[in-house]
Symmetry: C2
Subunit: 342 residues, 2 copies
DNA sequence: TTGAAAGCGCTAACAT
DNA sequence: ATGTTAGCGCTTTCAA
């Protein structure tokens, strides 16, 4: 492998000149540039990222801190779409994306990435109450963007939906449709996203004069199977819900399967509303009413913000809220009117 | 940030001793190890990947060369499941996964990754006839594993399904069901995976005494929309097919939507068989008959093979075929009998 | 069992 | 406009 020295020798200049040509410094004569570029070409030179990084202390890469529940991550279309957004801006800006598929704990991963100088900043996916990762981020003072809002005050930028409002809207829709026994099927209950969505759900009930019933709130995991199990529980209780708000479309799919298996017809016997509006929501049978959160844009904004922080070289603590819409289809039993923007 | 020197100073040893302790060299006394480890702990030392990589010439990371059509990649559940498999073994083996979301052309990306020493080896996703990437791989002689078989002889390991056989099986199933006008809806026609699947499809027809009709073979792109468009074309021809084999489940979903829109009922008016057996296949309406290719295992084997090559430090040129099964559900019109293993 | 010293390939003062 | 030099943080001979 040709090094910068080889190129320098061939072009009859010093290594620093080659380095300058590489950086396209204006203080190098065109003539020299030409000569050096010819040598670069001839030796098919390619810079060594290690050597460069060692001195510049920057990597040209951003990291994604994959949560411990990696399966839920990769397999959920939400994340795929989000990553597509991230990848889009990464590609545009010429940086690589590295997945923290290595170490053990989350803190170790973060250290591995940031302190090991493998990436210039990290994208965090979701958070829970008292999240140690966020504490470490604050300590590290490194560029980082969280998807979702932090539960406790923290020194991070984040991009999020107004989940409380979104869940409120969706619940209100169900209430307006005449439902009073409305269930909530969510992910892990200490996840901030879950907390916000239950809160919105409860608020809507209360504002409507309906007493929230804890038995109607079930937490599960973000997989189709999780939705299936959760819905089974919801439909087993004596005074079963006539409508269920699911905090994720995949959960909703699982829920629909469970309902179907138990002989309930959606939406006749049970109304269902999902969250995220993944592509398949439209294709489900019946087509799933869902809160569109603009996953791709969340990804674009996440990466954009992170790259900005990296450029600035410091945490910016900016927050962006991506808006949402309730996309009314058939699973909720309403006559589809298209999209309800809020 | 504490460096190895700081640790050395604090522990009253030389940097090389610290380095040895880090590598857990047996030639260091337990007593010294203890002292050094204490210093490591106290300073919360974390090694700099650049410095280490610069001397060891290895990265502890594997790369995934994202094809130019990045959208099709991220958004297709096939890839998500495959990546989950990759990530699983990467995590197990303690290596990071870097996504080539950077440069422009594919060759540039490969150079960026391999020659830029950002990763120790790469995973390639699919290939086409005369693929320049494979040529570059051969030239670089770097660890690399291709998902799919190369069109032309190449110096790579690969993991694949027997796509020709799989398509043959699926087509045979349709023939046995009484269909004679069978369409094929695939991805880009120069993709090897498409070539193999059409070949299997044609062979089955011929073996059954049915003359293949080129008008019944359409190529599209691997998105739901692609399936929709392709199916529209297939159903528009005068002597329309009564069954269609789709080279991808997402394509099949799009196809079902098109059929539905045109007023055809699946499977009564049109039998559909998909490929990959993504999770949602089971949830579709009607549930999609599909060739299960074991996406997750493909990922596990891909990464496993690559890591093995990296350990050996040289291309191994090994090939693994992951088996497939036809999972019979409702979209093909057969009475579901479960899984047809071959 | 440990230390000293060289060097991985590059960039960035500082000279000229 | 270009060269010289030092050094980024680590590993690894080679010596002791």
């Amino acid at each position: 492998m040709a090094t910068i020295k080889d190129v320098a020798r061939l072009a009859n200049v010093s290594p620093s000149t080659v380095s300058r040509v590489l950086a396209n410094s204006p203080r190098i004569s065109e003539e020299t540039k030409r000569r050096v570029r010819a040598a670069l070409e001839q030796l098919n030179y390619h810079p060594n990222a290690f050597a460069r990084g060692l001195v510049t202390n920057s990597t040209g890469a951003i990291g994604i801190l994959i949560p411990p529940s990696a399966e839920e991550f990769f397999v959920n279309p939400f994340f795929a779409e989000w990553m597509a957004g991230v990848a889009e801006v990464a590609r545009q800006r010429g940086v690589d994306t590295v997945l923290s598929t290595s170490a053990r704990g989350e803190i170790e991963m973060l250290d591995h990435m940031i302190r090991g100088r493998r990436v210039d900043g990290v994208l965090l996916i979701g958070t829970r109450r008292g999240d140690p990762v966020l504490k470490e981020i604050s300590k590290l003072r490194c560029p980082a963007v969280l998807l979702g809002r932090p539960a406790d005050p923290a020194h991070v930028s984040w991009v999020n939906n107004d989940n409380q409002r979104a869940a409120y809207d969706a619940t209100l829709h169900l209430l307006n449709l005449g439902h009073r026994r409305i269930g909530f099927l969510g992910g892990a209950s200490d996840l901030v996203v879950t907390m916000d969505r239950v809160a919105g759900y409860r608020n809507a009930l209360v504002d409507y004069g309906v007493e929230p019933d804890p038995r109607l709130e079930v937490s599960s995991f973000f997989l189709e199977q999780g939705g299936y199990l959760g819905m089974m529980r919801l439909l087993a209780i004596s005074d079963r819900p006539t409508a269920v708000l699911c905090a994720d479309d995949v959960l909703a799919f699982g829920g629909m399967r469970a309902a179907h298996e138990l002989g309930f017809e959606v939406p006749r016997d049970l109304a269902i509303v999902g969250f995220n509006d993944i592509r398949l929501a439209e294709l489900a049978h019946p087509a799933l009413t869902s809160v569109r959160v603009h996953m791709h844009e969340l990804g674009v904004r996440s990466a954009g913000l992170l790259l900005e922080e990296i450029d600035q070289g410091k945490p910016l603590q900016r927050h962006v809220i991506v808006n949402h819409e309730l996309v009314i289809r058939y699973s909720c039993g309403a006559k589809p009117i298209g999209t309800l923007t809020t």
